[in-house]
């Protein structure tokens, strides 16, 4: 890259423009052969506040790009369409949403999803047992009066 001499940057200094007449426009280009971890090590190599640079210890790119809000909405609507009754699992447990950690938040979505599926399966099983019991009673009444 080459800077042209005609970049029309105009500037002024807030309080006393007469004091400063020289400015510099720097163009920093992040080089390919450097990782963020390396940069953190080098740029924080000294100074009283070493370690304040907020480089996460482990970065999962997929996790970073995961939109928990939209994921929750889509998953919730999916479960809502599958779930046909009951009030117990209509609202997710509030304690999950008091946590600030997104991982906990996402886990909560997963747990709520499991619970809702469990509820559907449980309800269906209960109805099935009831129908079987009624059928047996009906057959019994026919056979034995």
């Amino acid at each position: 890259m080459r800077l042209t001499p005609s970049v029309p940057v105009t500037a002024h200094v807030g309080h006393d423009p007469n004091l400063v007449k020289d400015f510099y426009l720097y163009v920093f280009t992040k080089l390919e052969n450097w990782s963020d971890e390396q940069a953190g090590e080098i740029l924080c190599i000294s100074g009283p506040n070493d370690g304040l640079l907020t480089l996460p210890e482990e970065v999962d790119e997929e996790e970073d790009s995961y939109d928990s809000e939209s994921a929750f909405e889509s998953e919730s609507s999916e479960f809502d369409s599958d779930y046909s009754g009951g009030e117990v699992y209509d609202e997710p447990d509030q304690e999950f949403y008091d946590a600030e950690d997104e991982l906990v938040h996402d886990s909560a979505v997963f747990v709520v999803g499991l619970n809702r599926q469990t509820a559907v399966v449980g309800t269906a099983a209960a109805v099935g047992v009831a129908l079987l019991w009624v059928s047996l009673q009906y057959v019994r009444s026919i056979l034995f009066g």
Binding site: V7, T29, L43
Partner: protein, 195 residues
């Protein structure tokens, strides 16, 4: 503190049109609005941050409906940003670097700022700093590995205000370029374009 006051354009300074731009220190929003008018309007995402909640709220309210929806405003500390690694192609700073230099723990603050900017930039991403700091001062913070690998490639342009016959700056006048060069991460500075 240092603000482009008219038609700032980085055409020629940026290698390629950025898709994702971060503006640090958006106080007032004038610079962002000028970016919109001068060549960065095609960006798919322009995020502006400022550490002042009041400033962000006021700016956001003022520009509501005047800028496209891909211009967003966030209250955030540039020394500790919430953004993911490599999220931006271009970072513009107008005065934060100078504020860091003027702070009590300047050394730490400057390193933090450069480190955070480096972190949120994509590979080959670029950061623009308009500052009163000379190359000799900036070089101290670039760092260099023993094998010669540098975190940055740094080009710079020396701009000078127009002065009157007594050598006093004439406020509001356009700055002109008096030199440029490349910092290779070491202290080698070369002004290749004399006045």
């Amino acid at each position: 503190m240092i603000r482009p006051t008219e038609e700032p354009s980085f055409e020629g300074a940026v290698a390629k049109p950025p898709a994702r731009t971060l503006v640090m220190g958006c106080d007032g929003g004038d610079f962002v609005f000028n970016l919109y008018k001068h060549g960065v309007a095609s960006a798919t995402q322009i995020v502006s941050i400022d550490i002042s909640e009041t400033s962000v709220a006021t700016t956001e309210q003022y520009y509501e409906g005047r800028l496209p929806e891909h211009f967003t405003w966030n209250c955030m500390d540039a020394l500790c940003m919430d953004y993911a690694h490599g999220q931006f192609d271009l970072v513009c700073d107008l005065s934060l670097l100078d504020y860091c230099y003027l702070s009590e723990d300047a050394d730490s603050k400057v390193r933090q700022l450069l480190g955070e900017v480096h972190r949120v930039l994509a590979i080959d991403g670029q950061a623009l700093f308009l500052t009163i700091r000379a190359p000799e001062e900036v070089c101290e913070f670039l760092g260099q590995e023993d094998n010669g690998d540098d975190p940055w490639k740094v080009d710079f342009m020396h701009l000078q205000a127009k002065c009157n016959d007594e050598g006093v700056v004439e406020p509001g006048e356009r700055f002109h370029t008096v030199g440029s060069g490349v910092l290779e991460g070491s202290l080698e500075v070369e002004l290749s374009m004399p006045v």
